[in-house]
């Protein structure tokens, strides 16, 4: 907020005795601050302010409405107890194990597939200008659209299975979306379909940025294509991996809508992610304290993954 106060002071011309050029130059100096101030203030309040508020609420006994009397870590105790209830699985246990499965597979497959597609497209093939948008296009869809489309496609009574049965392959069986043990993998499939094209585009841009001279030098030295990619290209793409990882990690953690649209929670709630848990408990079950506590745990998990990664990647810059 102090930035705003300062800038508004500089805006006011105080005395005419001052040369106008100086006012203008001071204004120009302050311009970045003026432009950034609103978004800075908004971020402070709406991101960090509400993070603190959520942490605060998680230590109260808030139910339908926020209550402000601190009552201790009961919400965390409940979550902690639920963490180990695997048979029958508690909703929280399901959510966090699903997050592990989904997060790992989604990020890993997207990176692998994106890199693979990018390398193939980078072979100076004809029609690249047409192929690239085809792969990239799913990213333009919202998770809801992706979810609904895949829901129909994977539904045994409507989509793939039904079609193959009509074509005569009656022994074909694919009911993952209706199966409590496999439904989370359908979320991975839909998520990967949506994001891998975008990751491909990121890698493609990275590949185009690699100096051709290095490649030629390596080829002259007798490197095979595999060695070329393994030893030179992929290590050079390291910054792209970082960006792609961060994009994918945040998509994975916030993918609430995909689960809802694709599975509406899955059989017996078996497709829940922590974000579904959080929304369900805060807004549907009126257990705001538990919802807040789960949000705090999500935040801590993200921090625990992203911060060391960012630290290790960004520290090595001045090589």
């Amino acid at each position: 907020m102090s930035t705003v106060a300062e800038t508004s002071m500089t805006l006011t011309p105080e005395h005419d005795s001052r040369p106008s050029a100086s006012v203008r130059s001071r204004l120009q100096d302050a311009l970045p601050k003026i432009v950034l101030a609103p978004s800075f203030a908004a971020t402070i309040v709406f991101v960090y302010g509400f993070i603190l508020w959520t942490i605060y609420l998680s230590f109260t006994n808030s139910k339908t409405f926020p209550s402000y009397a601190i009552t201790g870590p009961r919400a965390y105790q409940r979550l902690w107890r639920w963490t180990f209830e695997s048979d029958p699985p508690s909703s929280w246990y399901t959510s966090i194990t699903n997050m592990g499965i989904f997060g790992f597979l989604y990020i890993f497959i997207c990176l692998a597939l994106g890199l693979f597609l990018a390398i193939l497209l980078d072979q100076k093939i004809r029609g690249e200008g047409m192929l690239r948008p085809i792969y990239l296009y799913p990213m333009a869809l919202s998770f809801i659209v992706t979810g609904v489309a895949w829901k129909w496609f994977l539904d045994p009574g409507l989509g793939l299975e039904q079609t193959l049965h009509q074509w005569g392959w009656t022994s074909f069986h694919f009911d993952w979306i209706k199966n409590k043990d496999f439904v989370i993998y359908t979320v991975v499939i839909a998520g990967v379909w949506q994001a891998s094209g975008f990751i491909m585009a990121m890698f493609l841009a990275g590949l185009r940025g690699i100096d051709g001279e290095i490649m030629k030098a390596a080829q002259i030295d007798g490197a095979t294509t595999f060695q070329l990619y393994r030893r030179i290209v992929i290590p050079l793409l390291r910054p792209v991996f970082l960006s792609a990882f961060i994009v994918l990690a945040h998509l994975a953690i916030k993918s609430y809508d995909l689960v809802v649209a694709l599975t509406s929670g899955g059989p017996g709630g078996s497709a829940w992610l922590p974000s579904n848990f959080m929304y369900e408990y805060t807004f549907k079950r009126n257990e705001m304290a538990v919802g807040s506590a789960s949000a705090v745990i999500m935040l801590m998990t993200i921090t625990a993954i992203i911060v060391p990664y960012l630290y290790s990647e960004l520290r090595e810059k001045p090589r």
Partner: protein
């Protein structure tokens, strides 16, 4: 420059003030009745109010559906910007009343005699601390069977009177090659069906003790285990593709004759009506076998907020119009539910509606009108959802035996209380 700004502000606030003064003749309404039949039913109320000179203003809700509306309401109330009234369900009304944001309609209620005409069980939710805080719009009941008559005739079935009859009927359908039971495998649908199963298995007293009073002995009793076993039996009659299906798609299976029967609340009738099917000739409505004489209900209510004095007149007009006999009849004929007062003539209702009204009246007088736990009228949302979790996990196999289900049910309800 500054002067201009000041003038501008003054003008703007003057306008705002003028707009505020006009609010008096306006009803601000938060609801999620936006689809065809429901919107048409609500139009009746809009017209009634406009005759009295009150304009109707919908509070916009992004995304539709009850959850989005409740999230929007929470934000509005937190900001101190109350709508005149909001569509609300069961314990939500009481939560808001406990938070002290609801109005007081007792004066109107006394004048209109609501305490005599509105079923006693409903007043648990519309009256808080001796004050009327909500106007019930309708009563839905959930212990219904919806049967395709053509299929029923084909397999030579008759109305099942007991649970065993019902299983025998389902067997007949299975033998004839139709899907016996149309079920949508979403937790609320499974739990809604289980409400009826429990009432059928344990009887009215047991249902009340277990699902309204949350008595632990009843929840872990052998009768509850038997209920879970019965539920498991019913689930063997659904098609393999049931998981995640929406309720109206399950109803469509019955309408098309792909399936024999659906266990669902009376909102299913709206789907039959929309498909131009007539009760008695195209479809049959029976009480869930073994539950005749009892009604498991849920009800839509208009919660009335504590609005400023200049908006109170509009609120009273809205409440009065909502509980007027003409609106109760006109609305519920379209909606498929029955009126929230027992003294409305049933002339405009179809056979199922007439039966529903008679049942409601009898259940009200006999003390067998119970809140549906699955629909949030048996216990607060935290408990109701914990219950739905357990039932759904049982149906889908995360919970494997009825012993385990009963243990989990007690634990989950305890945890949520």
């Amino acid at each position: 420059m500054l002067r201009k700004l000041l003038i501008g502000t003054a003008l703007a606030s003057g306008l705002a003030f003028a707009a505020h003064a006009e609010d008096v003749k306006e009803v601000q309404m938060l609801h999620w009745w936006t689809s065809g039949g429901e919107a048409a039913a609500l139009n009746v109320l809009k017209e009634d109010l406009s005759k009295e000179g009150y304009a109707w203003k919908d509070v916009p809700v992004a995304g539709g559906g009850g959850d989005a509306a409740m999230t929007a309401l929470k934000a509005m109330v937190a900001a101190g910007n109350y709508p005149t009234a909001s569509q609300m369900l069961g314990y939500t009304v009481l939560d808001y009343a406990a938070a002290g944001v609801m109005g007081d309609l007792t004066e109107t209620a006394v004048k209109e005699g609501w305490d005599k005409s509105v079923p006693v069980a409903l007043q648990k939710f519309s009256v808080y601390d001796g004050k009327w805080v909500a106007a019930p719009v309708n009563v839905h009941s959930v212990n219904w069977l919806w049967i395709n008559k053509a299929v029923m005739d084909k397999i030579g079935g008759t109305e099942p009177k007991t649970f065993d009859d019902f299983v025998a009927l389902l067997d007949k359908a299975k033998a004839a090659g139709v899907i016996p039971l149309a079920l949508g495998g979403q937790n609320w649908q499974e739990a809604t069906m289980f409400d009826s199963v429990v009432l059928s298995t344990g009887g009215p007293e047991f249902y009340k003790k277990a699902f309204n009073d949350l008595d632990e002995e009843s929840l872990k009793s052998d009768t509850m285990k038997k209920s879970f076993d019965n539920l498991a039996k019913l689930v063997t009659y659904v098609d393999p593709n049931f998981s995640g299906r929406d309720w109206n798609l399950a109803t469509a299976m019955v309408i098309k004759g792909d399936a024999l029967v659906q266990v669902m609340g009376d909102w299913a009738k709206g789907e039959f009506n929309a498909a131009k099917k007539a009760p008695g000739t195209d479809f049959l409505c029976y009480r869930f076998p073994g539950t005749d004489g009892s009604v498991i209900y849920n009800s839509d209510m208009f919660g009335m907020f504590n609005v400023p004095d200049d908006r109170k007149a509009a609120q009273v007009a809205l409440a009065t119009a909502t509980l007027s006999k003409s609106f109760q009849s006109a609305f519920n004929v379209v909606k498929g539910s029955v009126p929230a007062r027992t003294d409305v003539p049933d002339t405009d209702f179809d056979a199922c509606g007439k039966k529903g009204m008679a049942d409601l009246k009898a259940a009200n007088e006999g003390g067998t009108l119970f809140g549906s736990l699955a629909q949030g009228y048996g216990a607060p949302p935290a408990v109701a959802n914990a219950y739905k979790d357990v039932v759904s996990k049982f149906v889908h196999g995360q919970i494997k035996t009825s012993d385990e289900a009963v243990t989990e049910l007690v634990k989950a309800i305890d945890d949520a209380k």
